[in-house]
């Protein structure tokens, strides 16, 4: 069986036993969704890269303790989304100092294919983005989201409902612009 065909559990076991190839397959398999989830929650490309990378490093450090009977992806995404929420809150509370520096060049435009959706998501707060990303990008059930974010299930449902309502309204506004 090639590495590509192996289950996450088998790759975790092989990585624990010292197979870098298995670790790379696990990384390549889950990086795109982890990075995308981080980006959709934190809305910052550099931040998303750091968050997803840090989540993989945390997962790597905890590989020995990981229960292989449980699926790998939700475990990883829980780390990613919680860190993305923390990061977003931390950034909101931080001020940059001004300097007598050369003017900063404009940020590179994000070449995203769906400005309407991203623009609307940006109007939501990180808590609402997180539940939407976990529900619709990672396909977690509300119960799984509640466990991942350490929230009551009712809170998850209400955040989902409010988040989707606001997302719908924002997208309608984006279309009007």
């Amino acid at each position: 069986m090639s590495e590509r065909d192996r289950s996450d559990a088998a790759l975790v076991r092989a990585a624990r036993e010292g197979s870098e190839a298995a670790l790379e397959m696990l990384f390549r398999r889950h990086w795109p969704s982890a990075h995308r989830a981080a980006y959709l929650v934190c809305q910052d490309r550099a931040g998303a890269e750091d968050i997803a990378q840090e989540a993989f490093l945390a997962a790597l450090r905890a590989l020995d303790r990981f229960d292989r009977r449980r699926p790998f992806a939700p475990w990883l995404h829980r780390i990613v989304v919680n860190r993305a929420i923390d990061w977003t809150r931390m950034r909101a509370g931080r001020r940059e100092t001004t300097t007598a520096a050369v003017p900063e060049p404009p940020a590179q435009p994000l070449a995203e294919p769906d400005d309407e959706l991203l623009g609307a998501l940006a109007e939501l707060d990180a808590d609402h983005r997180a539940v939407i990303v976990l529900r619709y990008l990672q396909d977690l059930s509300p119960g799984e989201i509640a466990r991942a974010l350490n929230l009551p299930r009712g809170t998850v449902n209400s955040r989902l409902r409010r988040g989707l309502d606001k997302l719908g309204r924002q997208m309608a506004r984006e279309r009007v612009r």
Binding site: R28, W31, A101, A111
Partner: protein, 398 residues
């Protein structure tokens, strides 16, 4: 919009830039992975028991520390992943863990320590620094600056206008900066075209910015204590910032995206435009010593305790948004630590303790490990002569 449409649109947010991020992240994850250790942990987990006992000891020590006037300092350090006041010590440097070559500056002159631990003496210079690919060193003595090959053969010599106190090769190898007297000067890697970049600078080692293409940008501390970034060829000022406290040390992250400025009790991180990203204040009771920046956002810092004869090596993680979490102590020793450097694969740290005449190699991956080498000064005596003390670290390269 239906649920299915939302799913589809969320999943369509991948760009080419994301694939670059993936590659960068994989390199860092791979460098943090040790197949041999993973295998060893998996098959022989009892080997971690001493580490657990060590952790218990660490917690006990930290609790004891936390009840003393050093509370603030103890709280600043999140936890310890390794600690030894008297690591098992060998009398002879048997080899460098993870290989590479180490440049050190002894009172008699610079030496290169090879992977097997054997030292080569470069000559009676005050100190030396590596070229980026370890093909040469730049060495200095009084007003003389010289480029040497690793066997000590002189490639060129330049006489500066005043006593040279420090020199650093640019990351691409085409320029060398050096401070002569109070002047910061630049010379090409072949010894030609020496020119002054700034007439008055503080005695802080200038830091070349990595990954700037063909541009040669260097950060330094000017006579007012401000940090300047200049193009070393055009002399153009790119930015100048006034830090709250003049820094003692400047370090670029290996990817060139962040500049770390270390003052006595404050660490500050700036982005490439000179904007402050984050600061970390060291609580009273401690001051910052030398530091080293590794790939993967890790900074190793020596923390001097003011009222106690004990120094620590702490790890901080600093990404493009700031310090990610509280510092982590990897070593606390009842002695003065004067230098710190990362191994080329960033899995080991080397701390030097002149007061104990000792080098301590610290493996930072779990399980952590400490290897100490004692009587280190005796191993750097040219022609068997007595020397005045142990050498200082000047770079561990592949």
């Amino acid at each position: 919009m239906t649920d299915a449409e939302l799913r589809e649109r969320l999943r369509a947010t991948q760009t080419d830039a994301d694939r670059d991020a993936e590659q960068r992240a994989w390199q860092i994850v791979r460098s943090a992975y040790s197949p041999a250790e993973a295998s060893s942990r998996h098959h022989r987990f009892r080997i971690t028991l001493p580490a657990m006992a060590c952790t218990v000891a660490i917690v006990a020590v930290l609790l004891a520390v936390a009840s003393s006037p050093r509370d603030a300092l103890a709280r600043w350090i999140r936890d310890a992943i390794g600690l030894s006041t008297q690591p098992h010590s060998r009398p002879v440097l048997g080899g460098l863990p993870s290989g590479g070559q180490l440049l050190v500056n002894s009172p008699a002159g610079p030496w290169i320590v090879h992977a097997d631990g054997s030292p080569s003496y470069l000559g009676p210079y005050t100190a030396a620094a590596w070229s980026p690919h370890s093909l040469y060193v730049v060495a200095w003595h009084r007003a003389e600056l010289a480029a040497l090959d690793p066997n000590g053969r002189v490639e060129w010599v330049l006489t500066a206008g005043a006593k040279v106190t420090v020199a650093r090769w640019s990351p691409d190898g085409y320029r060398i900066s050096y401070i002569a007297g109070r002047s910061l000067d630049i010379v090409a890697g072949d010894g030609s075209d020496s020119h002054q970049l700034a007439s008055h600078v503080k005695p802080v080692t200038p830091a070349w910015q990595p990954h700037t293409g063909s541009a040669h940008r260097i950060a330094f501390v000017d006579q007012l204590g401000d940090i300047e970034l200049r193009n070393a060829d055009t002399l153009a000022l790119l930015w100048r910032i006034k830090p709250p406290t003049p820094p003692r040390q400047l370090l670029w992250s290996p990817d060139g995206t962040r500049l770390l400025a270390i003052a006595a009790r404050q660490l500050s991180i700036y982005n490439t435009h000179g904007h402050l990203i984050a600061t970390e204040t060291i609580p009273s009771g401690g001051t910052a010593g030398p530091a080293a920046f590794a790939a993967g956002d890790r900074i190793a810092l020596i923390l001097h305790q003011i009222d106690e004869p004990a120094d620590s090596v702490v790890l901080l993680d600093a990404n493009r948004q700031g310090f990610k979490r509280a510092p982590e102590a990897v070593l606390t020793a009842p002695e003065y630590l004067s230098g710190i450097d990362w191994s080329p694969n960033h899995q080991w740290l080397l701390a030097s303790s002149p007061s104990a005449n000792q080098w301590i190699f610290i493996r930072v991956l779990t399980p952590t490990r400490l290897n100490a080498v004692s009587r280190i000064a005796n191993q750097f005596r040219p022609h068997g002569k007595r020397t005045a003390g142990p050498p200082t670290l000047a770079g561990w390269q592949p």
